[in-house]
């Protein structure tokens, strides 16, 4: 018990938090794959995978084992360095980007403060956008190094789509900077606490920006209805046609972690992040102290509830990803470009101009 009475080194705390976050991300991916398969089966009145373990819950395990023991093929005419590097490039940027998401409030322990966020940057809003934008290199490297025309076509489609929708995303983020007056994600979450309950949420202040960013998130993660880079009927499997076994699984992992990052970003910027509706961090602590716990433990319980609130919001967005995938058909490529450049971008610019005028007269929130 002596260890418990000492304040913890913040570096050790951050390191442990980083490892836990990484584990959580990698554990959420197979769960999401399972949810997606059972969810799609449910929507299409099928049964879905239900044979492995109780209710088919061990199916992701068997999938993972299958992928790990499969042979990794290396095409003879491939550019070897880039071909091997590409899957690593697919998984790293989304993981690093997720580290900048605030997962909960501040833990108080023996007089020291530990914010529940691995990378507590003052430019988190831009950092996630910047690191996520590196995801496109995995697609480009994979498509080009495979030396396969389907892969190359898929890579070109994916990258032009990602670049186009990134611009719409950037414009929305600019209007969010005008609204909040800060780039710090923790600060943004605190500001959304202000309206009392859900009234302070970014989604109510910037409804248009919320919708634009949400649509762009689907295109950024190459999900249906924007999954043209891997349109099976035209391109076999797109940029990862030549990948097999674990190298393919890494692309899969990267795609799902990128979805988690998008969901977490949307939840943080527009739905109040780890805020619990109608209860501020101070309120929750008071409630727990009133229930008879010490101030330190009250802060831990508060953070736990806030983390649960954040997870509910994030997984809600994840479910919408699945829901939309099995509801809408795939776009045509010209429709996709049309939506990005002629609809979302002008709407985003309009949104920025309106935000600028309103901010000028009402002042920023920070």
């Amino acid at each position: 018990m002596e260890i418990l009475s000492m304040p913890l080194n913040p570096v050790i705390f951050t390191f442990v938090l980083m490892v836990v976050t990484l584990g959580m991300l990698l554990a959420l991916v197979p769960i999401m794959v399972m949810v997606e398969r059972r969810g799609s089966a449910w929507m299409q009145r099928r049964i879905g995978p239900n044979r492995v373990g109780p209710f088919g819950l061990l199916q992701p395990m068997s999938d993972a084992i299958k992928l790990m023991v499969k042979e990794t093929l290396l095409p003879i005419k491939a550019h070897k360095t880039l071909f091997i590097l590409a899957p690593a490039l697919a998984i790293l940027p989304p993981i690093v980007a997720f580290m900048a998401i605030p997962l909960g409030g501040t833990v108080m322990w023996k007089g020291a403060e530990y914010p529940l966020q691995v990378l507590n940057l003052d430019v988190g809003l831009l950092f996630i956008l910047a690191i996520s934008s590196l995801h496109v290199y995995a697609v480009l490297a994979a498509g080009w190094s495979s030396n396969n025309k389907f892969s190359l076509m898929g890579a070109l489609r994916a990258s032009s789509q990602m670049i186009s929708y990134e611009i719409a995303m950037g414009v929305v983020v600019a209007s969010m900077v005008f609204t909040y007056g800060t780039l710090d994600l923790r600060e943004i979450v605190k500001l959304q606490e202000a309206g009392g309950g859900v009234l302070g949420w970014g989604a109510l202040l910037q409804p248009l920006g919320f919708i634009i960013l949400w649509v762009a998130a689907f295109a950024e993660t190459n999900r249906l209805p924007f999954d043209l880079p891997e349109g099976e009927s035209e391109l076999v499997a797109g940029y990862h046609t030549e990948y097999s076994g674990m190298t393919f699984a890494l692309f899969m992992l990267g795609e799902y972690v990128a979805m988690l990052v998008s969901s977490a970003y949307l939840a943080t910027v527009f739905l109040g992040g780890f805020n619990v509706p109608f209860y501020s961090e101070a309120n929750l602590r008071e409630i727990f102290v009133g229930m008879g716990s010490s101030a330190d433990f009250a802060s831990i319980f508060t953070v736990a509830i806030q983390f649960a609130s954040f997870m509910i919001k994030m997984l809600g967005f994840m479910w919408v990803f699945v829901w939309v995938r099995w509801t809408l058909p795939r776009f045509r490529y010209d429709q996709l470009m049309d939506l990005g450049w002629r609809t979302l971008l002008p709407l985003g610019v309009f949104n920025v101009i309106v935000t600028m005028i309103v901010t000028y007269y009402l002042g920023m929130r920070a």
Partner: protein, 174 residues
């Protein structure tokens, strides 16, 4: 932290050499991206997060993608690239070296360095925390408004020039 900086510098020099020494245009463009990204990390290691993020977002994330995209679209093979004669290469190498030396002068010479924006930010108590979004934007939009606007005009002119060149080529083909 000192070691980290040296490692990053060494790596970015290596990837920079990769840009000019690689025979494949795609690998060359990829190395360019790595160089840009490592420069961003170098800013991170110095504690100036905003320039780092902007560097990664714009140079590594957007501009290099366009380079790679175009190179892949054109499918440049080493044999198809026109290699200029040695005289031209030497001429432009000397020109680029002189330009680089001239730019370095602004950072090294004490009198000159004080007058530039970077010099001013550095000299104000040598605090890297000043390289944050607020101080940079305040300086850009008040004291350095004219150079800032002149740069935007220059970029606009370059953009129009690029469109014009592209159009001229199309007319000839028809």
């Amino acid at each position: 932290m000192q070691i980290l900086t040296y490692v990053l510098v060494a790596l970015s020099i290596m990837s920079g050499l990769g840009v000019i020494l690689s025979r494949s245009a795609v690998v060359s463009a990829m190395s360019l991206m790595v160089t840009m990204f490592l420069t961003g990390l170098l800013y991170f290691s110095q504690g100036s997060y905003f320039p780092a993020v902007v560097q990664i977002l714009i140079y590594a994330g957007a501009i290099s993608v366009l380079f790679i995209f175009i190179v892949m679209l054109l499918d440049l093979k080493p044999s198809r690239v026109l290699i200029p004669s040695r005289k031209i290469v030497v001429f432009f190498a000397v020109l680029a070296g002189l330009f680089f030396a001239f730019s370095l002068m602004f950072l090294i010479l004490p009198g000159v360095s004080r007058s530039s924006l970077v010099g001013e930010l550095m000299s104000s108590e040598g605090d890297v925390g000043l390289f944050n979004a607020k101080s940079i934007s305040l300086n850009l939009l008040t004291k350095y408004m004219l150079p800032f606007q002149a740069t935007t005009l220059l970029l606009l002119a370059a953009m129009m020039g690029a469109i014009l060149i592209g159009r001229a080529g199309r007319k000839k083909e028809d």
